[in-house]
Amino acid sequence: MTQTALAASESPTGNLAVSELFVYYGPKRALGPVTMLVPGKQVTALVGPSGCGKSTFLRSLNRMNEMIPGCHVKGEVNLDDEPIYGPGVDAVAVRRRIGMVFQKSNPFPKSIYDNVAYGLRIGGLTDRSELGGKVEHALKQSALWDEVKDRLHESALGLSGGQQQRLCIARALAVEPDVLLMDEPASALDPIATAHIEELIHELAHNYTVVIVTHNMQQAARVSHHTAFFYMGDLVEFDKTETIFTKPKQSRTEDYITGRFG
């Protein structure tokens, strides 16, 4: 294991290097400056009270912030030395490599199969057998295959909440991204479905860099290797999860994770 959270050289790919990142909504600073290295092929949890900027930070990692009118970003984010905010870099291309799962599961009103195939099809894949193989692989990765393999062509809206969220994860994985961003992916789910998702996040870290926003401290402790604590738009502390939860350097971090405020 590395000595500090910031040294992630052992991870070959999927590192996200953030430097001097600011995000503004109109004239108002929502976040920054943030400088941190999100290590590849590990799970990084973002925690902090509501409005602290953690979701804003997450969205700035795959340029989903640009969907919000009035939002602009200053600073740099590099995915394995490729600047995602570089001149001429297309946000569409960035999002194909850095996928996202949302708080509320949002399957398209299409069949299960078509949901998972969506990203592949818009990427230009038309070969039926290749599509089928990738859809199956993605559904297996998200631990949903056994539950849906007999009804792939039924509507995705017929699935339970937890299944829908795993479908959204499968859909994001199908395009084979390097990084998966998750915005409170289990906050709308019951404890059993949450346990499923957490297990899944563990598994995913073998192949993907996972960044997860969560309000649930136990969840952050359970699933993540590293934890970043945000407060009022600032990155207060970023370290190994174990360190953050046992001997944080900042008193504000300790206050928050022990539930004294927030």
Partner: protein, 315 residues
């Protein structure tokens, strides 16, 4: 008395709000009854007087004997042709405008606001004004220009015609199509757009594969409602293409045509023998009503079918 006010509120409600309820119930109920009665009287009158003449011959023959005998087939044909052409012109333009306004134009830009105000005002313009506009713009300006360019000044397009009536009607119905499409687009959940964008879809791909399929039922509803409005409008086509009587069906876009709504007006005001024409008039009105009802019913069926299909309540 004083004891009862100090005690817990009784489960028996005080009289006063009940009286208010009853009055309101009575007033609103009577108003509703009045509306239903008026509709019923109209319907019963039209059906009772029109139905006996509604024969196959009436639907398939041309008027004869100075409108006192025969049928209304040319008017049905003309109405359908007009509505079809109008839809072909209005639907793509309206849907495209709505997509631009809702998906691409900046909602705060002055230009966007002006376009929106223009669209809303277009919806409020009296239909006879559209008729005059059609006469001036389409027939005299566009038609006249085409005749000068292609027909050596002979009058081919610079006169009332099916195409000009259809285009005038298309402009009249554009606001309905635009507003209905915009509402349908706005009803598509933002989460679906985000999901699509997060999968690396371009804006066009998101609109094409996610937004439009969701919006289709709403768009179709708006389209059919505008069609059924168009089918009944007479004022815009008075100057732009509808004919009093024609011996033949229109066989090109620059021919005039007969129209159900206009035919009703003609039968009611221009007949040499009012008593002989009256049953024909009633039957024509009945056909026009049935056509409009059929269109509205189609709208409802199409919408619910599409809803089912897209909400995925079956496979």
């Amino acid at each position: 008395m004083s004891r009862s006010t100090e005690a817990q509120p009784s489960l028996r409600a005080s009289r006063r709000p009940r009286t208010g309820d009853a009055v309101l119930w009575l007033a609103t109920g009577l108003a509703t009854l009045l509306v239903v009665l008026v509709l019923l009287v109209i319907l019963v009158d039209v059906v009772k007087n029109g139905a006996p003449r509604l024969t196959l011959g009436f639907l398939t023959q041309a008027p004869s004997d100075g409108m006192t005998a025969g049928g209304i087939f040319p008017a049905i044909f003309g109405t359908l042709a007009l509505v079809l052409l109008m839809t072909v012109a209005a639907l793509p333009a309206g849907v495209a405008t709505a997509i631009y306004l809702h998906e691409y134009a900046s909602p705060t830009a002055t230009a966007t606001r002006i376009v929106r105000i223009a669209v809303n005002n277009l919806a409020g313009v009296p239909s006879i004004v559209f008729g005059l506009f059609g006469l001036g713009f389409f027939i005299q300006f566009v038609g006249g220009g085409m005749d000068k360019l292609f027909y050596g000044g002979n009058k081919v397009f610079a006169q009332p015609a099916l195409i000009w009536a259809a285009l005038t009607m298309a402009i009249l119905t554009l606001p309905v199509v635009i507003v209905a499409t915009e509402e349908a687009l706005a009803a598509v959940p933002r989460e679906l757009r985000l999901a699509s964008a997060a999968l690396g879809a371009t804006k066009f791909q998101t609109i094409w594969h996610v937004v439009l399929p969701q919006a289709v039922p709403g768009i179709l509803t708006g389209a059919i409602l505008s069609i059924s409005r168009g089918a009944g409008e007479v004022a815009p086509i008075l100057f732009t293409g509808a004919a009093y009587f024609l011996p033949t069906l229109p066989h090109s876009l620059h021919d005039q045509f007969m129209h159900l709504g206009y035919h009703v007006y003609v039968l009611a005001t221009q007949s040499p023998d009012v008593d002989a024409t009256r049953p024909l008039l009633y039957a024509t009105v009945l056909v026009l009503l049935l056509l409009t009802f059929a269109l509205n019913a189609t709208a409802i069926v199409v919408r619910s079918r599409m809803r089912k299909k897209f909400s995925g309540s079956h496979a």
